[in-house]
């Protein structure tokens, strides 16, 4: 007897990615560099976040050709982004055989109120969240993995730190609440009661939680791991830097050895130029991608 795509199986793949680095790639060539550098998975997208930010316009799911090319070029799991609420892009990614779908605020949202109902799609989903309420809503819709939103394409880790701390606070609040308080708490954070109850019982999120949005150096990756993330996504940080291969390898080693400053020093040497960063205060409110999603 075999049953495909149960929630346990969806969550299970995320469990296997823990302690690893997932890298944004826009073509097969970058995907191969990522795999050779030790990435646990690659994320196929049309343009990396820093370019989406610079060029503007509507950002959509990658072209079918690019996704196919990336799938054919590597043996590690391939993820791809769909627009928030764009369930047809998700259905197409499912049919293309993608291993994980990121319903991502980095792309231009397709629905101003609703996210995708993810339980109906065989492929597991990862969703961004800025706090515990948002994480619970996404899990309620069927997300099998959560990541901080951070502020993609900035090379600035402050928002990812903010979101991770806020998530940890939220989990602690649920964990330490009396069970009589859970419904009121669920109402306050606008979260489905069942998910809140599950977090209360487990003492942690029921799915894996990665860091994303603004991670640019090995030290950034180690910081997020020490703050309690299960692994990291690196977007623009690698292929917008001076020496992508060196930097990718360094971030992978740093994510494993996040508690070992000597190893962090060793891998941080001779990395070339990091990506140029952006101060969050220099962004208009409308330019903040983390505000997308509801």
């Amino acid at each position: 007897m075999k049953i495909e795509s149960t929630f346990k199986i969806k969550k299970g793949l995320a469990e296997m990615l823990k302690g690893g680095v997932i890298m944004d790639v826009v073509n097969a060539e970058q995907a191969v560099i990522a795999e050779k550098s030790g990435a646990v998975a690659v994320m196929a997208l049309e343009r990396i976040p820093a370019d989406i930010r610079a060029e503007g316009g509507v950002a959509r799911m990658s072209s079918v050709e690019t996704i196919q090319e990336v799938i054919d070029s590597v043996s590690i799991p391939v993820m791809a982004k769909a627009r928030i609420g764009h369930f047809v892009e998700a259905q197409m990614l499912e049919s293309l055989g993608i291993d994980f779908i990121d319903e991502s605020e980095v792309l231009t949202p397709a629905d101003d109120k609703n996210h995708i109902y993810k339980h109906d799609i065989k492929t597991p989903f990862v969703n961004g969240a800025t706090d515990i309420g948002e994480a619970c809503r996404r899990i309620g819709e069927g997300a099998a993995m959560i990541r901080t939103k951070g502020e993609a394409g900035t090379g600035n880790v402050i928002e990812a730190v903010k979101h991770m701390r806020s998530m940890t606070d939220g989990i602690n609040k649920i964990k330490t609440s009396d069970q009589n308080e859970l419904m009121s708490l669920a109402k306050e954070i606008k979260a489905p009661f069942d998910v809140v109850k599950e977090i209360h019982e487990l003492g942690k999120l029921p799915v894996v939680n990665f860091a994303a949005g603004g991670i640019a150096t090995p030290a950034d990756a180690a910081l997020m791991m020490q703050l309690g993330c299960d692994g990291v996504f690196v977007g623009s940080g690698i292929f917008k830097s001076g020496d992508p291969k060196e930097r990718a390898e360094a971030i992978v080693i740093a994510t494993t050895n996040y508690n070992d400053p000597e190893k962090l020093i060793e891998v941080s040497k001779n990395l070339g130029e990091p990506m140029v960063g952006i101060n969050i205060d220099d962004l208009d409110e409308a330019e903040k991608l983390a505000k997308r999603g509801w």
Binding site: M1, I3, E4, G12, L13, M16, K18, G20
Partner: protein
């Protein structure tokens, strides 16, 4: 007495949880220096390509290989099985201590991943197969210990056990009892 859990990447904390349930001490292995005082080993699921790359800079696997060849009970699940196998199709051979040929991702991509009813040492339980490797063949010195629909998904050779699936995500009593016996005294388990 400690069980070393390879902790380069992957589901190593799930194995730690199993060890906590059976009251065994453990140490996370990230570096050659973590290998002292280890007398049994677990290699977890994850991405084998990533693990192989991460250990390169301190050559952890040559120390690990010596330790396994010294005869200590060693369990590999999913990617752990790939690391142990002598031959890997669509992937790299690394430790090469288990006389089997395995093929990476041979059951298909994530959409074909499944929970399946496995006969493990005579007991049937649902276990997770996640982009799992397939055991294509094995030598005479290797004995099957787990099957699904008559296909071999788990083997033992001397002190080494390799499983295609993830018992650590289920932690049923039969598995935990077996694990406890195996890690404490691999020899008794072999006679099963």
């Amino acid at each position: 007495m400690k069980t070393g859990v390879l902790a380069l990447q992957g589901s190593f904390y799930d194995h730690v949880q199993s060890l906590e349930l059976i009251d065994l001490d453990y140490v996370l292995i990230k570096d050659t220096s973590d290998l002292s005082n280890v007398n049994s080993l677990i290699l977890p699921g994850g991405e084998s390509t990533s693990m192989i790359k991460i250990q390169e800079n301190n050559d952890l696997f040559s120390g690990l290989k010596k330790l396994i060849e010294s005869g200590i009970p060693t369990l590999g699940t999913c990617a752990g099985l790939i690391l142990l196998a002598k031959d890997v199709i669509d992937g790299e051979t690394s430790l090469g201590v288990l006389n089997t040929v395995v093929e990476r991702n041979a059951y298909g991509r994530q959409n074909q991943s499944f929970e399946g009813l496995v006969n493990l040492l005579g007991n049937k339980e649902m276990y997770c197969f996640i982009r799992a490797p397939k055991i294509l063949s094995y030598e005479d010195s290797v004995t099957p210990i787990a099957t699904i629909d008559n296909e071999v998904v788990g083997v033992i050779e001397n002190n080494i056990v390799g499983l295609s699936f993830h018992p650590e995500l289920t932690n049923d009593k039969v598995y935990l009892d077996w694990l406890s016996n195996f890690l404490k005294d691999g020899v008794n388990v072999r006679s099963l």
